[in-house]
């Protein structure tokens, strides 16, 4: 089974190629190609993961090319971490394929959409299987390309076009960091191989400063892809893509790539205390910052997007606080419940044809399946006990506390409270109360989505509940035992902090839910209570802390200013030089053409002078040139 694991990414690639060939086909049954092939990937991934569970592992490589004495290799590697990622990615990808069959029904470029999905899944699976940084980087860029194509799928919408470009450019900033880190590592280690890098790091062959620098450069790459604080702005805008894409990109794949990168390079980070602290601080700040924006958004998908940013912040916080298992655990559970939430949101949008939550309401009775499933997702992400989010979030909080990062711990608790609040604000506004939607003429009644869409949601709903039991103190820590077999040496020590931590976390989430209930369901508290109390603050939050505007004022203005300078330089200096050269050549040519005037006499004169000179030379030197 393991020897064949290189086939896993090739199935989606095959699907991509086949669907490109059939893209003109009007029949929507082409979608089954994608579904079937990603299904095969899923089956194989599960098989591989089970084999790894039993303690196996594989690494196969061949030399790609030789630079001097150093061989650059290509191949694939299966270890506990990436086997788990394989299952998550292929599972979500498979379910999204299935869901898209219903969601994209009737779209003009139906086949192309599935082709892009295939390409994206291929890139992500390839990224996970890579045994060295160089190969990872190539797939990393492919993931970027796939996301660009998918986010900009509705390319005729200017917002989608802008969002696609933004996603590409913003993540590219991170990619440059990753690239620099990679080159630094190659310089220091002489290899892109994870194993060799880790061995060198362990031997202490790299100076501390260099270690921190490389770790931070690589973290910049993760920041870009995972939408962490300074580079997060692309992620909410990426909601312009079709909803299944949001589920795929923002739940399990692209944004998880950044977390995966940090996890895969974990020994490097472990070797540098400063780098770990930076990771934790960035993660913690992102968590609370994005959660605060989520409180005020009106677009259902944007709320979920900010929630994703916030949850990714949690994962980074966990990794930075030596909670390796906690981070991966949250990555796993988050993949399930966030994919569920996105798909449920897609189902809602599919039913009511709007994304503004102010225009929804009272959908609980009309969407008998989507409603409960959304509720499960919301409960899970809020960290209500017994659902998956509770366990993983609790573990993150515990490891943060155990690591002695008390400030970040309280930030995370507040973020958990906010998460619960905005998720249930969303839930109450969308599913309860009166229908606020004005019915347009000729619009069909609100109806439940077809079963091809609800089935993936049910699967994810089940997983969102049970995935938490992978790693609990009650039934056993399967996940951490499993991950401990990997190449990464897990930080030792008891991460199960004081008993009161789960209580605090539960209290925070229940408080959030309760507050949302009071405001949006019962109406006990007026909805604009906060807005009126702190007008300035809520304004800032509603406008996403003016980050986009800030970038506009600084980076965009700066760049355009620089380009204007460049244009001036081009116009006056470069063009001036060019004109000088052309006029010089023209003048020279004019002199030449004056010589060639067609007068036989002047030619004769020139010839005579030539002969005279030659004769003079012969006479003076007394012979030929010697």
């Amino acid at each position: 089974m393991l020897q064949m694991s290189w086939l896993i990414p090739l199935f989606p690639l095959l699907s991509f190629i086949l669907l490109l060939l059939f893209r003109k086909s009007k029949s929507e049954s082409t979608a089954w190609i994608g579904v079937l092939l990603t299904g095969l990937s899923l089956v194989m991934s599960v098989g591989v993961c089970l084999a790894v569970w039993q303690g196996e592992g594989i690494k196969t490589e061949g030399t790609w090319f030789q630079i001097g004495e150093r061989a650059i290799t290509m191949g694939f590697e299966v270890n506990p971490l990436n086997a788990l990622m394989l299952v998550i990615v292929s599972l979500v990808s498979f379910l999204v394929h299935l869901y898209s069959k219903g969601y994209m029904h009737g779209d003009e470029r139906f086949g192309v959409f599935f082709a892009y999905l295939g390409l994206f899944s291929f890139a992500m699976l390839g990224l996970v299987l890579s045994p060295n940084l160089l190969q990872l980087y190539m797939f990393w860029e492919l993931v970027g390309l796939g996301s660009f194509l998918l986010i900009g799928f509705y390319y005729f919408k200017p917002e989608a076009k802008a969002a696609a470009k933004k996603a590409f450019v913003m993540t590219r900033i991170g990619d440059v960091g990753l690239f620099i880190g990679m080159v630094l590592l190659f310089w220091q280690v002489g290899s892109f191989e994870y194993d060799e890098i880790f061995a060198t790091v362990k031997n202490g062959d790299i100076s501390d400063g260099m270690l921190t620098l490389t770790a931070l450069c690589i973290f910049v790459g993760a920041v870009g892809k995972s939408g962490q604080l300074p580079l997060h702005t692309w992620l909410p805008d990426a909601m312009e893509g079709p909803t299944p894409v949001s589920a795929l990109i923002h739940a399990a794949t692209m944004v998880a790539a950044g977390v995966y990168l940090v996890a895969a390079m974990y020994p490097l980070f472990q070797a540098s205390e400063a780098a770990l602290t930076v990771v934790a601080v960035v993660g913690g700040l992102t968590a609370i910052f994005a959660a605060s924006i989520g409180l005020m958004q009106k677009d259902i998908k944007r709320v979920l997007a900010y929630s994703t940013v916030s949850q990714l912040g949690y994962m980074m916080l966990a990794l930075g606080a030596s909670g390796y298992v906690a981070g991966i655990f949250h990555l796993t559970t988050h993949a399930f419940f966030k994919a569920l939430l996105f798909l449920a949101a897609g189902s809602v949008i599919h039913a009511v044809h709007t994304q503004n939550i102010e225009e929804m309401g009272g959908l609980w009775k009309k969407l008998r399946l989507t409603g409960p499933l959304f509720l499960i997702g919301a409960l899970a992400i809020s960290g209500v006990p017994l659902l998956s989010g509770f366990f993983s979030k609790d573990e993150i909080l515990a490891s943060t506390y155990a690591d002695g990062k008390y400030g970040l711990f309280w930030l995370a608790v507040i973020a958990a409270f906010m998460t619960a609040f905005y998720m249930f604000r969303l839930f109450f506004l969308v599913f309860t109360g009166e229908a606020r939607q004005e019915k347009k003429d000729g619009q069909k009644d609100v109806h439940e989505s077809p079963s091809v869409m609800t089935f993936p949601m049910i699967v994810l709903g089940v997983l969102a509940v049970v995935a938490g039991y992978l790693n609990t103190t009650w039934f056993g820590t399967f996940l951490s035992d499993y991950l401990a077999r990997g190449p990464v040496e897990l930080p030792h020590g008891d991460h199960h902090g004081p008993v009161w931590i789960p209580l605090v976390a539960t209290l925070a989430s229940l408080l959030g839910i309760g507050l949302a209930y009071l405001i949006y369901q019962r109406g006990t508290l007026s909805r604009d209570w906060i807005t009126r109390s702190f007008p300035g603050l809520s304004d800032v939050i509603y406008n996403k802390w003016y980050i986009d505007e800030g970038y506009d004022q600084t980076v965009v203005k700066g760049t355009t200013g620089l380009s204007k300078l460049g244009a001036l330089f081009d116009r006056y200096v470069v063009e001036g030089l060019v004109t000088a050269v052309t006029t010089g050549v023209q003048r020279l040519g004019r002199i030449g053409s004056r010589l060639q005037n067609g007068q036989v006499q002047s030619y004769g004169t020139a010839a005579i002078f030539g002969i005279v000179i030659l004769l003079l030379i012969v006479a003076l030197t007394g012979g030929y040139f010697s």
Partner: protein
């Protein structure tokens, strides 16, 4: 019999050749140019005769050769004049400055 040295003949030929060359290169009138060319040819003839007489083993070869040259020069002058007349009929001028079709 002769006290005139070879150098004097050669000097004369040189002066004659230079006058001819100057005329051929500077004069505007094509007829004058032709005449100047004749001058240069005659300078050559003088050289031929002078060398024939003053060489290590004197003989008639050079003198007879110069006769041939004179004949050829006459033929050349005839052809040159013919071309000149044809040109004049075409262009109504014998000014060599205006004969610059090579340039166009």
């Amino acid at each position: 019999m002769s006290s005139v040295p070879l150098a004097a003949y050669l000097m004369l030929a040189l002066i004659l050749f230079c006058i001819g060359l100057f005329g051929a290169l500077t004069k505007r009138n094509a007829v004058i140019v032709l005449i100047s060319i004749e001058l240069m040819l005659n300078a050559v003839n003088i050289n031929l005769v002078a060398f024939a007489k003053y060489s290590i083993n004197p003989g008639m070869t050079g003198q007879i050769f110069s006769l041939f040259t004179i004949t050829v020069a006459a033929a050349e002058a005839a052809v040159g004049l013919a071309i000149l007349i044809a040109l004049y009929r075409n262009r109504q001028t014998v000014n060599v400055d205006e004969m610059d079709t090579m340039k166009r």
